[in-house]
């Protein structure tokens, strides 16, 4: 049962076409103007979603509220099937004729409302916790509150059987996956949602960030199985070379690693439950570690393509290349001066525009009280990236110099989408590159690193290995944005554009 903001009782009869205004007395709908309905003898606005009607009512496509008839113990498919005071709750693992998990009307719990974060069913008023949130069952999106839509959700507790539930319709959904012990089989449910055109689509992408507090231990998924049983990440240990033939690229790493799917349009994300063997390992990769990993999933639900960038500037005082930089580099200068706004950001925008991605909110912040990080040894990159405070978009840190010298930038690949304050929450750009390169060239370097954070790999790395995307137009091409050299081009293949546009860092 849903407790909406507007609690109404509905009387339905007659034909529309009266002249009753909001608040006027009515005997049936025919007494109210065509944009209204008659509820408890009063003309009120038509509903857009069931919660507009209040507890125990549905809203039809004509905007009319209907009282639910489901009584205690009756089978149901949606929260709106059950009368006031009841909720539609999944019964177990049995499925109904449609193949969805069977549900029935039960007395509602005194728990959290729909959409509230949860970890167990018992925490939720409606008795269903999935994807880390309390979920109302639904038959269609009209049953769901504003900003949510009816989605098909695989239920981990029922071996992946499907139920239809109201799920956040836009943006990214984040939740913690339970991990019990240093090595554990962890289920990752991937839902399907209706898009704006009414078509059912699988979630755009998922990024799972694995962390351990002991940074001397490695962490990650040693194997991942897709819902159809395909191994997408084969047996991994820390220190293994990249498994280039795996459909999904993933490597264990010290302290933190990220599993981002899909890695290629050739192996799209599947609806259903992925099974991951999540493990901490000692630094040699030979034994299971002692640390219990945490796992945070972020699913991109919609096709939004806005990339927010949050620029941070370490201390650039007395930089030897202030002249070629264009002057003092700090937050104020970057937000106002042509060298940054024009010479750097315009080409950066252009490179992402070819993937249909628009730069959105840009923020600028000085970090002048971290002298230990001004001239950064890349080994200390996690200390700097942990200062990234923005969850949405990507944090971009400008340091005055980067060592070992010659390194121009650093990015976790892929990065922990949707997470701030972690050892991988951003990318780093070395300011000393501007001693011998122009701002537009640094823009290409930045775009390369941002794209790595978002899930692309070098189309060819320095050892000649390819990325996971099979695209003849990009493979090994030095004209590609993902070519490992700073002197590469800015092209993106169709497959690369697809993966970029799916990144969970986009809003």
């Amino acid at each position: 049962m849903r407790c909406g903001s507007l609690l109404v009782l509905v009387a339905l009869a007659g034909c529309p076409g009266g002249d009753g205004a909001i608040g006027d007395h009515c005997g049936d709908r025919g007494d109210c103007s065509s944009s209204l309905q008659c509820v408890e003898s009063t003309c009120v606005p038509k509903c857009q979603r069931a919660p507009d009607c209040g507890d125990g009512y549905s809203c039809d496509k004509d905007g009319i509220c209907h009282a639910a008839t489901g009584e205690l113990g009756d089978s149901c498919t949606s929260e709106v099937d059950c009368a006031a005071g009841l909720s539609c709750e999944i019964e177990g693992i049995a499925t109904d004729a449609t193949g969805h998990l069977a549900a029935s009307c039960v007395t509602q719990n005194a728990g959290k409302p729909a959409a509230a974060p949860c970890s167990t069913d018992g925490e939720c008023r409606n008795g269903t916790c999935a994807l880390g949130h309390c979920i109302d069952l639904c038959s269609n999106t009209l049953d769901c509150g504003a900003g949510t839509s009816c989605a098909l959700i695989p239920r981990v507790e029922a071996e992946g059987s499907i139920f239809a539930g109201c799920l956040q319709a836009h943006g990214a959904l984040r939740w913690n996956l339970p991990v019990h012990g240093p090595s554990d089989a962890v289920a990752l449910p991937i839902p399907e949602l209706y898009d704006a055109s009414g078509f059912m689509n699988v979630a755009r992408s998922v990024a799972v960030t694995f962390d351990v507090e002991d940074v001397n231990q490695a962490v990650g998924a040693t194997r991942v199985t897709a819902p159809d049983g395909t191994l997408v990440v084969t047996d991994q240990s820390f220190g293994d070379p990249i498994h280039y033939s795996d459909p999904v690229r993933h490597q264990l790493a010290l302290g933190q690693s990220v599993l981002a799917m899909p890695s290629s349009p050739d192996t799209p994300l599947e609806p259903g439950v992925y099974m991951m063997q999540v493990t901490s390992q000692n630094a040699t990769g030979t034994n299971t570690g002692t640390a219990i990993p945490t796992a945070t999933a972020v699913i991109k639900l919609d096709s939004s393509v806005i990339l927010d960038l949050h620029f941070y500037f370490l201390n650039f005082d007395e930089h030897p290349c202030a002249t070629s930089i264009g002057g003092q580099l700090d937050a104020t200068a970057a937000s106002t001066q042509a060298f940054f706004q024009h010479d750097y950001l315009i080409p950066l925008r252009s490179m992402f525009a070819q993937a249909g991605i628009a730069l959105g909110t840009l923020t600028y912040e000085d970090l002048r009280d971290h002298p230990d990080l001004d001239g950064l040894d890349v080994a200390n990159a996690p200390s700097l990236l942990a200062l990234g405070t923005h969850e949405v978009g990507i944090n971009v840190f400008f340091v005055r110099s980067l060592s070992p010298i010659g390194l121009q930038a650093y990015a976790p690949a892929p990065g922990p989408a949707g997470l701030a304050g972690t050892r991988g929450s951003g990318i780093i750009i070395g300011g000393d590159t501007l001693c011998y390169r122009r701002w537009d060239q640094l823009a290409r370097t930045t775009a390369h690193e941002l794209a790595r954070y978002m899930g692309l790999y070098d189309n060819e790395d320095v050892a000649g290995h390819p990325d996971p995307i099979h695209d003849d137009d990009a493979d090994a091409s030095s004209a590609n944005l993902m070519f490992y050299s700073e002197l590469g081009g800015t092209d993106l293949s169709a497959g690369q554009r697809d993966i970029l546009s799916r990144s969970a860092v986009l809003r």
Binding site: C321, D377, I405, S478, S485
Partner: protein, 201 residues
Amino acid sequence: MKRRIILAALAGGLVAIAAADPSALDTQTFALTAIDVVPTKAELDTALMASGSGSQTPVQRLEDLAANGSDAGVRLRAINALPQYCPMITGCGGSGDPIHDTLTTLIGDYQSQLTGANVVVLRAAIESLGALQKPEDKDTLATLLNHPSRDIRAASARALGELRNCLAVTALRVRYQNESTDQVKLAISETLRILSPPVCP
């Protein structure tokens, strides 16, 4: 071997390489302009040999690029790569060793530089000289603790830590007393921590 290195006219070479059509560049140039990785010796060998360096061995080619490369980006990576070519067991030698001499000559020629890419070249040579871990380079690096550039002073302090030469402690302490930049003071502190017992009684 002591070679006199002529300060490169960076601008001309830089524009030439940076504006070039990527397809016209060779694997050597690409390997020495990697954005976010330091190529391994094996990867460099492959790239350098694929590009053809005449009669030069890969290390000779890198020494040449480090000393005379026209593009600062390529040059920095060549300087950075040199310590990888020291023998595994014995390391590079001191004076007279080609790699060592390339680096010390660079430092000598560029230590008066105060701005621009040449300062970064100097810093690269300092980092690589530190990576050779030759205690006898203490004086070369200690002198640079007083360089006008804070980045050079900090790099020198860190490189001194790699030498494990306890005689550097005095110079580091003196510089610390006179240093006003936190970035440099922190680098000196870290090196003094390294050069404390048991490394330096």
